[in-house]
Amino acid sequence: MKVLVAVKRVVDFNVKVRVKADGTGVETANVKMSMNPFDEIAVEEAVRLKEAGAASEIVVVSIGPAQSQETLRTALAIGADRAILVDASADVQPLGVAKALAQLARKEAPQMVILGKQAIDDDCNQTGQMLAALLGWPQATFASKVKLASGGLEVTREVDGGLETVAVKLPAVVTTDLRLNEPRYVTLPNIMKAKKKTLDVVKPQDLGVDLAPRLKTLKVVEPSKRKAGALVKSVEELVAKLRNEAKVIP
């Protein structure tokens, strides 16, 4: 089966972001960018499916600015076969991304679309679900295990109370959670091979999709800072402070 994987270029998870003084957003200039960690897990899962003989072709796609090509090349180096960049500004929102992915899915006809459950920049956790709805497909979100079962998938999901297993018919959308797999390190030979793989660039107009953002950001501020704390020297001191100062224990 063909698998479509969607990836996003985001601020690296190790970066402590700074809010711009003018309140318009977060400082991203000269900041390290990487593939969204959850999307990396999605690429890894697709590659494992291919290695197991369950997937025949992996097409990786990103909706974003020209620099997203680096992210796509990384996905190709992990093991995807072909890449597509939908050339758009950085301010794309989940509904628009889902519409673009839906158009690509209608063209490419994969049996499965897999992507991260949320991007660590906007923390929306919407795109996969929206995509599934637009296609009229079932979804299996927050996946920690994906098994192919007759005509469909059996997916174990991480939910608030523990684990839940659902069965979905194919084609389906899967969104990945942290423990689905541990992505492999990209090797230099694979990075070199990836340079030769196809990377097509398309415009949103070519897909007939309107990527204009719906939500307007009025301002971005830092959350209120906590008061500085203090070290205590002993358990006695801690208990006394919690009881008498913080008053959180009897």
Binding site: E164, R214, P223, A246
Partner: protein
């Protein structure tokens, strides 16, 4: 104009998250309806009718909703959507799973995980693991919103007397089905509602060692949480995880034991009223958010702390 809150419940009882979501809905300043969709869910619907601030409960009791399958639930909500200007659900795995489908089918944006309501079209939400707060405005005709429950004090569960009306059920989309669930059973309070949380990280070293934290939690009447590292290492099940993509908690007291304090963990607990950190590494970032920090060997001080507490 009316707000619809989609209730989270297990057919027998309402989840606390529903009360926080009703509280957020109240801030919009218009009538609130609660949808209870389930199977054999009359008790949950009755409970919803008693919440203060709820004007009507709409109950859909049919087999397709025995489990909140996203495909079925979203289709049902969409069938009712035109009567509402706002549709809200808790930002729990329940709400996060199905609500975006509703938004896409209605061709509107979703505002995820709000922590504040500025006006009926303007909301505050955390981004970048809570390191920034964005104020966003929606011009869409229906606002679809998930609510961070820790940001809104629960509506009062008793004293209301809203009418409970049956509404028309949809059909099973037939593309997905529930197979099974493995839920952690515990006599301890639920993490997201607990007043005190004792949380363990990689420093605990093993699942067996979490017994030390359980003893402390028992003394305090606390819930037990964990960092991603502890879950990844198999010390505790995934539902213990506190963090950017785990549970977000805001208890009165959060005791972080053997937790280094990675950005992603802080995202899940930095709104706690009082934070205590116990870690043998004085450089651990957790000490930068802790109100009280104890640089010590947790295997010595945790039992000592348990012993020195009343109760």
């Amino acid at each position: 104009m009316t707000t619809l809150v989609v209730a989270e419940h297990d057919n027998a009882t309402l989840k606390a998250s529903t009360l926080n979501t009703v509280a957020a809905a109240a801030k919009i300043g218009q009538p609130v309806h609660v949808l209870v969709a389930g199977h054999a869910c009359a008790p949950a619907a009755q409970a919803a009718g008693k919440i203060q601030g709820v004007d009507k409960v709409r109950v859909v009791d049919a087999p397709p909703y025995a489990h909140p399958l996203a495909e079925n639930l979203a289709a049902l909500v969409v069938s009712m959507a035109n009567a509402y200007s706002h549709i809200m659900a808790p930002a729990t795995t329940f709400g996060k799973n199905f609500l975006p489908r509703v938004a896409a089918l209605l061709d509107v944006a979703q505002v995820s995980d709000i922590v504040g309501v500025e006006s009926p079209d303007t909301f505050v939400r955390p981004i970048y693991a809570g390191n920034a707060l964005a104020t966003v405005q929606s011009g869409d005709r229906i606002k679809v919103i998930t609510v961070r429950t820790t940001a809104f004090e629960a509506a009062v569960a008793d004293g209301g007397s809203a009418p409970v009306e049956a509404a028309e059920a949809g059909t099973d989309a037939g593309v997905s089905c529930f197979v099974k669930q493995e839920l952690t059973k515990s006599a301890r309070p639920e993490l997201t509602a607990a007043r005190i949380i004792v949380s363990g990280g990689r420093g605990m070293g093993s699942g067996e060692n979490f017994k030390l934290l359980e003893a402390l939690a028992d003394k305090l009447g606390a819930a037990v949480g964990a960092s991603r590292a502890a879950v990844d290492s198999g010390f505790v099940p995934n539902d213990y995880q506190v963090g950017q993509t785990g549970k977000v908690v805001a208890p009165e007291l959060y005791i972080a034991v053997g937790i280094s304090g990675a950005i992603q963990h802080l995202a899940g607990m930095k709104d706690s009223k009082v934070i205590v950190a116990i870690n043998k590494d004085a450089e651990a970032p957790i000490f930068q958010v802790a109100d009280y920090g104890l640089v010590a060997d947790l295997f010595q001080v945790v039992p000592e702390l348990t012993a020195k507490l009343n109760g």
